[in-house]
Symmetry: D2
């Protein structure tokens, strides 16, 4: 049995590079030789023991690589082809998948819905921070990379770009909307890019880190609020002549930003939540108009699947968007523990790291 290197969750506080067997390839699977991957904020939650996974699991859900081996039932791809797969790898055939809820793809029962059931890599099965990755339901999840795009150019597609865009999409941004994004980490920055792509005219970014605010400007924000210097909601009301925004996107996972997002909305506005919350969330009754303000609150998990990936890649391929500013640091796979250290401690203005194999 051949072995490979993989970043493995050992225990709270320890993700280490170790040896693991290269997995066998089932009928509907594909084996990908990883060429580039990255670390996600969620991986840090796992590292810190805030999100439980089994000991021994390979971490990571953002794969770029080359098809090493295809299962016999997987058509439409060829070995040697450069591909990505989404962070979320739905089966395609669950009830959840078949009613447009693929991120909640569950087990093969008559019902098949399971919270975040579509998130498998580095969660319920071995993940992408390894020399090889087994992709489940490969026919539904592989997506070819055009030759002239580098690994790094598509590295945000599997998770960050898909998640950030979904913030704008779920919020139903329309041409001429005013949109605010709270928190300008990689996902918030992609939410800004998504809002711009959907036609928002005014895009307000809220954060306190100048380098992130600069990237937000490059990606489409035309107003930036430093919440350490100003009351964000007050500023938003000033910018909108007291009306409030059409869509508020929460990209942190914190009660304070969730509540500020709510308070920023006009009556009839949409709150699109991208946060992963670790505590109960309180909706202030006034900000909610006592339930009579026609406010909708959307939430959800990153959309995956090959059609989603194809669309995201086409946005990059045609130059509608360039996410290179998000990749601030580079590491070799052998140094992934250092990459975790830098990323977990948010040192040196890090947004995302590229890890090359």
């Amino acid at each position: 049995m051949k072995k490979m290197k993989a970043a493995i969750f050992v225990e709270k506080g320890r993700i280490v590079l170790d040896q693991k067997p290269i997995p066998d390839v089932g009928t509907n699977d594909a084996l990908i030789k990883i060429t580039t991957t990255t670390i996600c904020g969620t991986d840090i939650h796992i590292l810190k023991g805030e999100y439980p996974v089994e000991k021994g699991l390979t971490i990571g859900h953002e794969p770029v690589g080359v098809i090493e081996k295809l299962g016999s039932a997987v058509k439409g791809f060829r070995e040697g082809q450069r591909v990505i797969a989404g962070a979320i790898t739905p089966s395609g055939h669950s009830n959840a998948c078949m009613c447009g809820c693929a991120s909640q793809d569950g087990p093969d029962t008559p019902h098949g819905f399971k919270v975040s059931g579509g998130w498998k890599f580095g969660n319920t099965i071995d993940g992408a921070q390894a020399e090889y990755l087994l992709v489940n339901d490969a026919a539904a999840n592989l997506c070819a990379i055009p030759d002239h795009l580098t690994d790094e150019q598509v590295l945000m597609c599997p998770d960050i770009m898909s998640t950030g865009f979904s913030g704008a999409e779920r919020g139903k941004v329309k041409i001429g909307d005013t949109v605010v994004v709270f928190a300008l980490g990689p996902i918030g920055l992609c939410a800004i890019a998504g809002a711009k792509l959907m036609g928002a005219s005014n895009i307000i970014g809220v954060d306190c880190i100048p380098s992130r605010m600069n990237v937000a400007k490059q990606l489409g924000a035309n107003h930036l609020i430093n919440f350490k210097e100003h009351d964000a909601v007050e500023q938003i009301m000033k910018l909108t002549d007291g009306r409030g925004v059409d869509v508020a996107i929460e990209a942190l996972g914190n009660e304070k930003t969730f509540q500020s997002a709510l308070k920023s909305l006009r009556p009839g506005g949409n709150l699109s939540s991208l946060g992963v919350y670790s505590k109960d969330l309180t909706i202030p009754v006034d900000a909610y108009g006592t339930g009579l303000a026609d406010i909708d609150i959307y939430s959800g998990l990153c959309p995956g699947g090959k059609e989603r990936m194809r669309r995201l890649i086409s946005v990059l391929e045609t130059g509608r968007l360039d996410l290179k500013p998000l990749v601030t640091h580079h590491f070799n796979f052998d140094d992934i523990e250092q990459a975790y250290d830098l990323f977990a401690n948010q040192r040196d203005g890090v947004l995302k790291v590229a890890i090359k194999l």
Copy 2:
């Protein structure tokens, strides 16, 4: 100046029948001679001082009557015509109205959004519990009653039926959905009727009053849960083989039912809130799938305007629905204070009262 009788808010705890001048009719107004009206739960909040209105205001927002006088700019109607107007009377020309948010119709500014700004009768202007009612923006708000429908048959249209239906509509009920409605007062009962009209196959009603549960059965519920006898969420999970419902409608305005509604949902489900909340609302992080369960939370105010009223009347006119079971008691207008007493104290199995003038 001619006088009329009107039910007037005097102070906390006192709504009394008194004399008021019959209002003048402006260019865009209509004066309606009220023939039947009713009392709403919101009126009781006003009575109890829980919802603030100006002293001296005429209460009531559910008018059935006859056009006494039309403003000079109001076309398409004639004096003597039997009409209703919605509880919510949008102007038709605010920014809110013109982007599909008519219930949040605000003042005539460049923006024009105001929480619940479309609710005017018995809130910001004199209401329907009077001999005469001045209807603002009459061209947008009057709706003719077909001859063969009685006042009582259409009495639920202005508020209860429109609000209840909106619970199913906002929740985006689809053919074959499983829907639960929490609290089977008049609005919850109309939410059940709405869910049935939109094609829900399983409709679950939750309450503890047998008479209301019986009406729910007549209107379309095929499962009823008495929450005093069973844990509602547990029962709902049993009824759905552990999957949860597609749509949960909250029709009370209480944190407990809001949370139960959330816990009843399948991943990807919709929570449609009809409640008017008097306190902050806490979203339990688990029931919310930490924000990753693709759950959407819809809220809003009763839809108004003449096109809405026309559609509701057509549902009654063609016999798709009969809401007579909701009118349990009758009063003459002179006895409206007794009607308030009965309704405020929810005596004698009251659902809605008809008040005849």
Copy 3:
């Protein structure tokens, strides 16, 4: 190699009962022992040579049966279980499937869209008029039948009910709508049932066969027009006070009814086309308001997949709808050629035949 009986297309004008090998079961397949099936109008097109299929193909796409054998990768079902599969059996993993277009499911290419590519049974692979049926992508397509529903009660789910309902769904029928359905064959009748389930208040059926018009009444039509006795469009305008209908459903596949549907619409109305057209279709410029009437024209193929089937079955299971009136005749499988003869010639008031194995 074991043999089975199957209804096979031999040549234009001849579908005959003959012997065929029982198919082998691949990893993702299921073999169904058929217990009941039926004949569709499309099968008659095949019989008449109007729709081309390969000689030797087994016809039929409406299966009810019992799982004989499951492929090794198919989870969530068990051998011996009573099931249906939709007429359309999408793979679940094509690009078409993954963007909500499962009926246009195509081959496993990066794009994967193919007109009607989801229709496989009796079209591109062997069909359901046989003792055994091989179901492709079984995990995506099998749906359990509740014990207390008979074969006949669910026989309309795979095609007729799904197609008819889609007419109302694509037309976006809303509570209070006025809907007209042109042609009251089995699909038109299910469109009427669908329009009622979605809350239409006025439903107008147009046909010339009294028995069909009677069934339409049972299923929800409250106005019926015999187009041989009256000009249908003229009558519809009378019934709607000159306004036109909100949604017009074409359920025949004929230019004349398509044009009448268009002429029946109010400005802003929706034309939902269920027809299979054999000739070019002309849109009269006046009925189309020269392109300025905000008219939308929807078309499409029957929705399939297990989640769709589950929902349709739930509508029947809860008694929201009873489609037994559609099954007018019964045959043993050995007499299927007679069934074709009766059905092709529309003798004896036939709507649908049940063929028992």
Copy 4:
């Protein structure tokens, strides 16, 4: 009675500058002193007698000006304010307006739908090519112009920009879509801008005039096809690897381009028609997949009203789009007949003319 100059339809072939009384201002009206206006393709249809209007009517529906006088019921604006009004001026209170169909705004009857009933200026009432314009239902239709935008910068809002954008909006363009626009006149160019604003990654423009194709490139097209040099449908299939486009926008009003748009679509695609057709339109049965290809065909009239105008202006104000390249020629109002001559004959690479008063 004071007089003003106005461009008046005299008879087929003759629109002349003449004197007319300045209109009286009703309660709900506003009188605008026009500062800039333009000529539309529709005006040329009127000039040529192809679209019938009453003799003596003032032509034009694209007003930029200053409020001269407000009706007594019009709040939220002030005399002296710079404003535009949409080409389409819905009342706000018809049934059509109140169900989201404002362009089909009709008379004040219980139904109130009328094909293109929202188009009043230069159609059913006097238009904008005059020194003064009476704006009906002014509260619903006036929109303030920010100080730092010139007349010319907002001159496309009332019609061209709103119509062109609606092509992309009705076609439901999504992030990552491939969109084709047939015919690159001013409306087609704005459809390209709209498709880009909504996130299309590939935008294909089809025309034969190099100068228009250049402007298309500036506005977002990344592929241009000269239909005189290539078969457009063939080229589109090449560009999309045989898949077809997600959305095809017809911006000419011609059967040939309508059919090419249809042929360009992938199964499940949307045809968005912006054309005004003067003849019947034939749908080729093959391009339509015999009705089974899940193709939707959207059509409609330019959206108007003040909220629409506010949103379009915000797109310009924030620099998301610059439509100055569309204004190729300038005239004084006294020379409007020359402007008609140039524009009607499409001389000198004209796209739109600005007419200054």
